[in-house]
């Protein structure tokens, strides 16, 4: 039986947030929701890291001259989380930036639709028929679009 203490509740919250985010990333069909799920999961993991240095009733790890040293929380995970938050913000901003460009190009952020459009685009540029093409196998090769003329690699 797991004891019902403050720490258990905190750990459950952190792991729960991570799980919600991770499941959201895997299950959602919309690119932007995936980014949001990533944000939630990252918050959960950051809490988990903070908890790894947590001590009940301890003070912030600042040593003042002359003061008697009290029990302190571990400062290392806090430094790590600070770094992780900054990295996370950067990556999320980059993701949203790329999503805007993808939406401008294809007009959708649906994962499957976007993937199919990209795959078709890729195959058209390489001059092969797409395996995800909606045409039946008997329809013959897809017409090669003008994109091929743009450049050697399209």
């Amino acid at each position: 039986m797991i004891p019902f203490t403050l720490e258990t509740v905190l750990y459950a919250g952190a792991i729960g947030l991570t799980a919600i985010g991770a499941v959201g990333m895997v299950m959602s069909n919309h690119m932007f929701r995936m980014v949001l799920a990533l944000v939630v999961a990252e918050a959960g993991v950051n809490l988990l890291l903070i908890l790894s240095g947590y001590r009940g009733g301890a003070v912030a790890p600042i040593l003042e001259a002359g003061a008697a040293p009290l029990p302190m929380v571990d400062p290392v995970p806090q430094a790590l989380v600070l770094t992780a938050i900054v990295i996370g913000v950067g990556v999320q901003a980059l993701a949203v930036g790329l999503l805007i460009r993808a939406y401008q190009a294809y007009g959708t952020l649906d994962v499957r639709e976007l993937r199919r459009r990209m795959e078709d685009d890729l195959c058209a540029a390489a001059g092969v028929t797409s395996p995800t093409s909606l045409h039946a196998p008997g329809d013959g090769p897809l017409p090669v679009p003008e994109a091929q003329a743009q450049g050697v690699r399209g």
Partner: protein, 488 residues
Amino acid sequence: MSSVVLAIVLPLLAAFLLQPLDRVAPSLARLLGPATLLVAAWVLAETWLTRGSVPFTVALGGFAPPLGIVLYVDALALLFALAVPVFGLLFWPWSAAGEDRVREQALTLLLLAAAAGLALSGDLFNIYVFYELVAVASFGLAAAKGTARAQVAAVRYLLIGAFGSLLILIGIAIVYTKTGTLNLAQLAQLAPGTLDGPAGLAAFALMLIGFGVKAELFPVNTWVPEVYATAPARVSALLAGLISKLAVLVVIRLLVLVFDQPSAAQLMLVLGILGTLAGELAAWRARDFPRMLALSSIGQLGMVFIAFSIGGELGLLAALGVALHHLLVKPALFALSNRWSGSLEALAGAGRRSPLSAALFVLFALSLVGVPPLPGFWVKLLVLVGLAQQGEALHLAAMAVILAVTVLEANYLFRLALRLYRRADGAPEPPARLDLATAGLLGAGLIAVTLTITPVGEGLRQIAAQGADASVYVGTVFPQPVALRDGS
């Protein structure tokens, strides 16, 4: 403080100086990147020559480990760190134009600086930060062409990469909760009592999948074909050749130092087998040249993991062999694919138009398949011998898989080689002179290794022996507690 730090710091500094310098003096900015990489390569080569193979550490900022962050420099780290500026120069974006040129050069420098950091760092969180730097730079480079499909591929790559980083962070949280340190040498000391249970295995599995995103490990490699088909060929060459190997190096360090347990090796073996099978089968079905190369690189990286799961000095030697062989061959093939990016059918007759590039392709294909005098044969032999020595059911299955995919590799590579020499109209343009020179240089390197296979093999064996010995690592980082080091 040793000059090794410069190999990380100078490219990092240059990456951020490039943009302002380009405004003031464009001709200087053009030279800044290559000059920085030359200095970095020289610093590392000089360290190798003066220090020999004696490992040493560099305490960053003068703070001693375990509280401070150390760079750990041994022959294994130097070998990979030296490959970073060398391949950076080989695949430098000379031909990118205008505003894109500065952006791509700055991102490449950022990628290379962080890659050198990955090779040298001796602190788990420091490795995570460098890994994230590599990731962000590679997301930018993957979208460098600016086409819509490149941006979609980049954003899908980014989401998988961010998911992987998340798993690494959870792994780090577990490790820190269990041990209270992130210094790899101290972890090596503490691991036997704290990380050999299920929690340690979970932490390793999370970090393996996390670092596996860049190492093209099954199942987090779905980004590979999309990105390599949409990014510039030089970026694909750097990501497939160089960056994947540095992620492998991190996993090697983790497994040797921290998670030295049979179940961890077994997990790697299973994922390696699945990756090899999936990659080679998909490559066999691929219908355009860049994606065929991308998928075959998944297969080759799977073999690196199979090789390393053998364990010990022989396992590390085999893994190093496969990894370095792939490092020579795959970037060269990507250089050839720059102009030959169309479908495989469209490549008919390309060999008649450019006999030298077709000859190079055949050379690399023969080595990839493993035809005797070439290095590809020796590395496959090493892996098979190592697996046979282990002799458990899973190892025998891995042997069968490697032999089976060799047949597949031979089929799809020779099929293309025959097609290159077929008589046909409308053959594609021959590869550009720069790409051909790069591929030729790497081909010459491959032949040089073939001719000097005995000394090269002996050198690698020494590097592997040193790298596989955790006590050397611990003894170098913490020279005081001599009790941990045996008398020799």
